[in-house]
Symmetry: C3
Subunit: 87 residues, 3 copies
């Protein structure tokens, strides 16, 4: 219904969220690193892998399921995932 009362009700709700910064607006790219022994390193829940680093100088990797770094060289001691999300 589009009468004035319902509009103002929605407006009040909108402005309340706006004032309380609960509006679903994101404004920062937040990243962290996760390092693990072996060939796999998993990002925390809600984060996606933007890049991977591997032990033994290895630069060959892929990303599984968008959030797990997998180093591909025959000998790997550690794997690190660079993980990002909007916050």
């Amino acid at each position: 219904q589009d009468n004035l009362a319902s509009l103002l009700g929605k407006l009040k709700e909108l402005l309340k969220n706006q004032d309380g910064h609960q509006f679903p607006v994101t404004n920062t790219l937040s990243c962290t690193s996760v390092k693990a022994m072996g060939t796999l390193a998993s990002c925390p829940t809600g984060m996606t892998a933007t890049g991977c680093s591997c032990g033994f100088a290895c630069g060959s990797w892929n990303v599984q399921n968008e959030n797990v770094c997998h180093c591909l060289c025959p000998v790997i001691d550690w794997t690190a995932a660079r993980c990002c999300k909007l916050a």
Copy 2:
């Protein structure tokens, strides 16, 4: 014009978009990988490269035009781009 009618007209439009989730608000970082033979791998349109992976263990690369991964080692069999966008 700032009379009540025009304000409410704009408000209705604003709330309509708000309800339909058409407000230009982004809330997810979405990434994917693209692998190609050779030394270059291009991100899909609208995505930017956040990191690159190279065959033969190579960790030397650069990004061309913000969306193409270029592996720099003398011998490279494949190149992979990690590509992200807001969605």
Copy 3:
């Protein structure tokens, strides 16, 4: 105060910002690369490192303070940071 005048005042302000694109809405992931001699490369202020590239084919690196790439191989001539932010 929630009377009509104050609501409409807030509404006018909201719509003005909306029209002028000053609403705090982000809609692009913007990335750039920074290359430096040695083992460290720093992202510009306000950007975070999403991945790193190293000279001499090295694929082992970490990120310091979320915005500095650090290549970890014994011999490194250059380091490059892939840096991103919302814009």
